[in-house]
């Protein structure tokens, strides 16, 4: 009993004192926002056909379907062409800013609004990759995903430095952004545009109100108790969301794997051959033929795929095995991107996998990326390199599961 309560209090201390996995949450923030950004840019020429008011899935058709499923989309606020262009451009902008980590909480909300607005507007255009982004865009809102590798982290470091010098830093952008978005939110609510299911509107209002409270409680130099409590609760919510994100990734693999086991083609070892020969998933027929030339190879890949997918959730209890499987899965998704012509699905899946990457590896990659950036900047001119210190808290860099 004593041991149990000790473990419980240690666990509570861990989830309250820090937002865990700063590198992991940063890498998925960058991964998901970059995937959506690249997708939106790729589809820019096709945006009207996919989501526009006069596309095949016209505004009128979408209105009838959404009337029955109550999904959230700002695109139903107006059937005008200009409104559509604005929403599309804002979705692009929000993804880019979230990727950079500028005002990340706010951008994560706008990112979610962009993803839901476009995807819910035309549900029949998406595939598994869109599904992953849809869910993750909601979960990201709950995370403190910009503790590292972000403009916010740099700004916070600068504010700390200025604070140490005894300077006072006032943030004008944050309150301005908050005010504008509050007006939009209030306008939309009063105009009766929030006709969707209550969840997303409630989430939008909750984040907005909490941001206001965060600002109010942080105005004094000395952090008062309300501010500390908000900080602790933010950690708790972040850690809960991180757990949900990891559970979601496991659920994806478990579902994909366990249903495959039941299929005769996955049992007889020929399954991988078939998608390679479907018109819609064979951009490189020559390559597909090469890959499926040997029956033994196809069987090994077929069995290997199922094995890895089914096994992955269980390997989380062993750091080394998990990392090997992670490498295998990321490689397989990179191959799928090219061979089956599913680049954005694969990118989204790789981003989801990245939440399980070990901290040491992520920091090494981060260091390498920073050096590459510095070299580029130096070559590009005398531009000075912004210092970005990561607030090192060794105990806070673990995601759990012995990562």
């Amino acid at each position: 009993m004593n041991r149990f309560s000790l473990a419980a209090s240690r666990g509570i201390a861990r989830v309250t004192e820090a937002a865990l996995g700063p590198y992991q949450t940063a890498v998925i923030r960058i991964g998901f926002s970059a995937t959506w950004l690249l997708f939106l840019l790729r589809e820019f020429p096709h945006r009207h056909e996919l989501y526009g008011p006069d596309g095949p899935w016209s505004w009128g058709l979408a209105e009838q379907l959404i009337g029955t499923n109550k999904a959230f989309t700002t695109l139903m606020w107006s059937d005008g062409g200009a409104w559509f262009e604005i929403v599309y451009l804002l979705a692009v902008l929000a993804s880019a800013l979230l990727m950079l980590g500028w005002r990340s909480r706010t951008m994560s909300v706008l990112f979610m609004v962009g993803v839901l607005s476009l995807q819910n507007r035309s549900v029949f255009m998406g595939d598994g990759g869109d599904n992953v982004l849809h869910l993750m865009s909601v979960y990201l809102v709950f995370t403190r995903c910009a503790q590292v590798w972000s403009l916010d982290a740099r700004r916070a470091a600068r504010a700390r430095a200025a604070h140490a010098r005894g300077e006072r830093v006032t943030d004008r952008t944050g309150p301005a952004l908050w005010g504008v978005l509050g007006l939009v939110l209030a306008g939309a609510t009063l105009a009766g545009r929030m006709e969707s299911d209550w969840l997303i509107p409630a989430l939008l209002w909750t984040v907005w109100v909490t941001q206001g409270l965060w600002w109010l409680t942080g105005r004094r130099a000395q952090a008062g108790e309300p501010r500390i409590m908000l900080d602790v609760v933010a950690n708790v919510v972040h850690n809960g969301a991180l757990l949900v994100i990891m559970a979601e990734a496991c659920l994806i693999y478990a579902t994909a794997g366990w249903y495959k086991i039941q299929g005769s083609r996955w049992q007889d070892g020929t399954a991988v051959y078939y998608p390679l020969h479907l018109e819609y998933f064979s951009p490189w027929p020559g390559l597909a033929d090469l890959l499926s030339a040997s029956g033994t190879m196809v069987m090994l890949v077929t069995y290997g795929t199922v094995l890895v997918q089914v096994a992955f959730p269980f390997t989380l209890f062993n750091r080394r095995v998990k990392n090997v499987l992670l490498a295998v899965m990321i490689t397989e998704h990179a191959v799928i991107a090219v061979v089956l012509g599913l680049p954005f699905f694969s990118l989204a899946m790789i981003a989801a996998d990245a939440v399980f990457l070990p901290t040491a590896f992520l920091r090494r990659m981060g260091g390498r990326a920073a050096r590459a950036r510095d070299r580029l900047l130096r070559r590009g001119g005398p531009g000075q390199v912004p210092e970005q210190q990561v607030h090192e808290r060794p105990e806070a860099t673990h995601v759990g599961f012995g990562t």
Partner: protein, 257 residues
């Protein structure tokens, strides 16, 4: 992702994973309190605030457990619990947490399904002509060939529209419910758009004209089994022909260009 089904109207389930408070910073996360500042964390709080933290912890813990449990039930095969509480699961999942991860499972598709269309065109002099069949899926396939970044318009649009059609029609091609009629309009609009892109009217009449009716059919052919397998499957394609659909005047132009 599959289409959201409008199965459940009432949306009054318990809270989502959001709990009562989503703490956020004015304009962006801030790093955990730096060590130069006075003690942070639960240790710095007096009892009332500690109770607040405990409440938040409980709500988040329950929220996470319920959410993960609901998602598990949503992706699991129909079972005793979902038979009993399927409505509660659906209320929680729809509309925003729907998911389908049966990726190429239980079996990968082993047939190429080509959607083909032909049109009845009224030419400038009032005569009526029927075009040949246009294989739209083959066009998609060619657009995907050698393409590192296939567009959703090439890879998903027609393919999923056909899936939607099949899921909402009986074997006599009669629509089932609202979604059935929506799927017909959708498919019709896609094929008219594609015929317009293929310049089908000009090809048929040599000049101007309008599409009056369209007919869609699917051609299903088995993927030939691998060379190294001893399996034999029929290579004769199967056709499913839909009735002719009139094209409303305002749609004949094809919508998006």
């Amino acid at each position: 992702m599959d289409a959201y089904d409008g199965g459940s109207e009432a949306r009054h389930g318990p809270g989502g994973p959001d709990g009562p408070g989503v703490p956020a910073e004015s304009g962006g996360p801030v790093e955990p309190a730096p060590p130069t500042e006075p003690p942070a964390g639960v240790a710095a709080l007096s009892l009332p605030y500690r109770i607040g933290v405990a409440l938040a912890l409980a709500v988040v813990a329950v929220g996470v457990c319920v959410h993960v449990g609901m998602m598990f039930l949503h992706v699991a095969p129909p079972n005793t619990v979902t038979r009993e509480h399927g409505k509660a699961v659906d209320d929680w999942i729809y509309p925003e947490f729907e998911q389908n991860w049966k990726l190429f499972a239980p079996n990968p598709l082993q047939q190429n399904i080509s959607i083909q269309v032909r049109a009845e065109v009224r030419d400038g002099e009032g005569g009526t002509l029927t075009t040949g069949w246009y294989d739209l899926s083959a066009e998609d396939g060619r657009a995907i060939d050698g393409n590192l970044l296939p567009s959703h318009t090439q890879q998903n649009e027609l393919r999923r529209a056909w899936d939607f059609f099949l899921a909402t029609h009986d074997s006599e091609n009669r629509p089932v419910g609202l979604r059935g009629s929506l799927s017909e309009s959708y498919l019709r609009r896609i094929v008219v758009l594609r015929l317009d892109r293929d310049d089908a009217v000009r090809a048929a009449t040599g000049g101007v004209g309008t599409i009056e009716r369209v007919q869609v059919r699917s051609r299903t052919s088995n993927v030939p089994p691998p060379k190294w397998s001893r399996e034999k499957v029929s290579t004769t394609p199967a056709y499913r022909e839909l009735p002719w659909w009139p094209v409303p005047e305002d749609e004949a132009g094809g919508g998006v260009r």
